[in-house]
């Protein structure tokens, strides 16, 4: 791959990541309840940060730095969803309910766990 094409691709990925991060901020401010905010924070942050890291890995001068950036991206993708999973579960257990519910698969399970 020619260096110009590589740089262009890297900048494109980074711009996509910046867009995702911006969307995440707007979502955290504008969404109505805690679950949609967690959704926006996690998804857009994981996607945005991962895209920026991938772009940086393409832009990196040596493969060692690129490997480090890939590792960081992998850890972000592994840990961020776990954190928000724990957060939203704790919110549900604490008695917060979404404003509009179409399907609630966790409710019966939580009731059963509470009975134990």
């Amino acid at each position: 791959m020619s260096p110009v094409l590589r740089e262009a691709l890297a900048f494109l990925l980074m711009a996509g990541g910046a867009f995702f991060s911006f969307a995440s901020v707007i979502g955290i401010i504008r969404f109505p309840d805690v679950y949609t905010r967690i959704h926006s924070g996690t998804k857009a942050l994981t996607g945005g940060a991962t895209l920026i890291l991938l772009g940086a890995a393409l832009y990196a001068p040596s493969w060692q730095i690129a490997a480090k950036l890939f590792l960081i991206a992998g850890f972000l993708m592994a840990t961020n969803p776990i954190a928000s999973h724990a957060l939203s579960r704790a919110c549900y257990r604490h008695g917060m309910r979404p404003e509009v519910i179409f399907v609630d698969e966790y409710g019966p399970v939580a009731d059963e766990e509470a009975k134990k």
Binding site: H85, A90, R93, H94, E113, A114
Partner: protein
């Protein structure tokens, strides 16, 4: 349109913009490396020759200003003593049974990597950014995560409070002992290369005289101290609310 939230938002916007501008001005006002004067110029120019460490911050912390660092880590020691004294009233405690399966499995996979990362940051503190304080904090993070995700009794079975106490005191003793070696060599408390410690080749793992050893000592102290603080606090929380997961269940 209600006027008060609007005013609030405008004020918030102005505050954010003001803060951002001030931060950028602060970055722009930082002097370039050539125009640094005073002790900073001395450190930048001679730190690697006089201490053998490539990380100038580490050289300043553990060589030129090592006595200050001893005082700083004593602050943590004092905090641990006070908190342990305040929170150790109850002897028996129940522990929460931890978070969900997903969180437990995920942290179980992550924890060894985190411990490895903490060790690397401590051991390479004289070569790359990092050092005892930072690595110790990451190690304490591992124990905090275990406390939260698996419950505090699980954590205390892996890292017993007694072990933490002896690790912390051992770190303090190691630090003072290294300082006394310099005193015995006749060059002053906590002196590094002048006391005869080998400088090694700059940039290699075994270099910079006492700096790696002091990093290890501070890492033991900070890691064990912070995790002891968190454990004694969450122990009390666990005693007062008997919760299953993340708070009382409805």
């Amino acid at each position: 349109m209600n006027i008060r939230p609007f005013l609030f938002r405008i004020t918030a916007l102005f505050l954010c913009a003001f803060l951002g501008v001030m931060l950028f001005r602060g970055i722009a006002a930082m002097p370039p490396k050539e125009s640094v004067t005073g002790p900073a110029a001395h450190y930048l120019e001679r730190a690697s020759r006089e201490t053998g460490a490539r990380n100038v911050v580490g050289a300043i912390l553990f060589d030129y200003r090592a006595f200050d660092t001893l005082g700083e880590s004593t602050v943590i020691f004092t905090a641990v003593c006070g908190i342990s004294m305040l929170f150790s009233r109850r002897k028996f405690h129940r522990s929460s049974s931890g978070l969900s399966f997903i969180a437990k499995r995920g942290i179980g996979i992550m924890a060894p990597f985190l411990i490895m990362y903490a060790t690397v940051i401590i051991l390479f503190g004289h070569i790359s950014p990092g050092g005892g304080f930072q690595g110790g904090t990451i190690f304490a993070t591992v124990t905090v995560l275990l406390c939260v995700v698996f419950g505090s009794s699980f954590e205390s079975s892996y890292f017993p409070p007694k072990t933490k106490e002896s690790l912390e005191s051992g770190g303090a003793l190691l630090f003072c002992g290294i300082g006394l070696v310099g005193l015995a060599a006749g060059t002053g408390f906590l002196s590094n290369l002048s006391a005869g410690f080998p400088a090694g080749r700059e940039g290699s793992l075994l270099s910079a005289g006492t700096i790696p050893l002091l990093n290890i000592a501070v890492g033991m102290k900070v890691g064990a101290g912070l995790s002891a603080i968190f454990y004694s606090m969450i122990k009390m929380l666990d005693t007062t609310n008997d919760y299953r997961e993340g708070g009382p269940i409805r």
